[in-house]
Symmetry: C2
Subunit: 221 residues, 2 copies
């Protein structure tokens, strides 16, 4: 049986839920306290202000993302691993989607978080480059150093903007459907399609065929 | 000699400048009036509220974007045209960057704008598909219908998120440098690299070589 979460943990969980569904900027610490049925003083005992809650949620987001952005030392990455990694990354971004919802505003109003986000994105880009370099070294992708960098940036942009793409163009609000998640993985895998070594093209295309799902509001026109 | 802009036009220009530099959510109609040295009543005579100003700026954004998203009937598009188009599109997105800064918040608080944005993005995606289909028909790119759709979505995401990528990972604030603009064009052109017909590969790679500029905060790692 899971232990009952303590107040600190409950505050974090409720904040994440409220930030995601109502937007971080629309939620005050008073809302969070009242949602949990605790006094503002009790909340204040654990977190002096909203920035501290956001900072702690960002730490958790970073921790979860980095598990999937880091290549295990000496390990070989298979195509299945990569699909699974992308699925987890997209899921984590969705679970913490308030961060990328009004990211520029959030970072502008919190310089410390801005520095942390910048370092995090640079580390993620660096790790992505290492992963693609490993695929190039293994002869799976045919990429020079510049292409590794360029591909990593485009992967990072599509990955971090997929949620915003869905909410602003598809009107997705409360749930990322399994379909939309798979389509996101597909959009990212396709970015490397042009660089596949001939021996791997068939397997990747077969995988892409499995992942492709039409989006409701995008039709051939 | 250019005619002196009238009050209505001055309100729009000042609003755009203030929204871009201070964030739309931080700017009230009183700020705009005081910035222009006019009375709130005078502003109110032209625009009943801030949403009406945003709506009019969005109309102008849409109008400018669509010029470059629409393929002239029966025209042949050259590689140079495409580079120029991408440059203009990125510049327009930068000039109206407040729209994509807190896009999800903006659309959430303005359901009418949300509908317009959704229609605009669907039209843009549709036009992008037509442009790539024309390149496929001309034998420049080797793409099937599904690849046309997938590529168009990735192009749309990188195009619309390039400004956010720069501000959140590079700390870009007041100006989009010519370097960062060219790098954006490069990131988008590279998306189609893998689909180039052999006869066009050399010309596109030479163009990409010209457009590639290193980003300050992204280094090989």
């Amino acid at each position: 049986m899971a232990a009952k979460p303590n107040t600190r943990e409950r505050i974090l969980q409720a904040s994440l839920q409220l930030f995601n569904t109502q937007g971080e900027r629309n939620v005050t610490t008073n809302h969070i306290a009242s949602h949990l049925g605790i006094s503002p003083g009790n909340l204040y005992y654990h977190f002096r202000n909203k920035s501290m809650i956001v900072a702690e949620l960002f730490t958790e987001f970073e921790r979860r993302m980095e598990v999937f952005f880091t290549l295990p030392e000496g390990a070989t990455v298979t195509l299945e691993d990569k699909t699974l990694y992308l699925e987890r990354l997209l899921e984590i971004i969705w679970q913490f989607r308030f961060l990328h919802q009004g990211l520029e505003y959030l970072l502008e109003s919190d310089p410390e978080l801005a520095v942390r986000y910048r370092q995090f994105s640079q580390r993620s880009l660096c790790n992505t480059q290492k992963i693609y370099q490993a695929f190039a070294d293994a002869g799976i992708l045919q990429l020079d150093t510049r292409q590794v960098e360029t591909l990593s940036i485009n992967v990072w942009i599509v990955l971090s903007a997929w949620t915003q793409f869905l909410t602003t163009t598809q009107g997705t609000q409360l749930n990322l459907s399994q379909q939309q998640l798979r389509r996101g993985i597909y959009q990212i895998l396709v970015l490397e399609e042009g660089y596949l070594a001939p021996a791997y093209q068939e397997a990747v295309r077969a995988l892409c065929d499995q992942l492709y799902v039409p989006l409701e509001d995008i039709r051939p026109c």
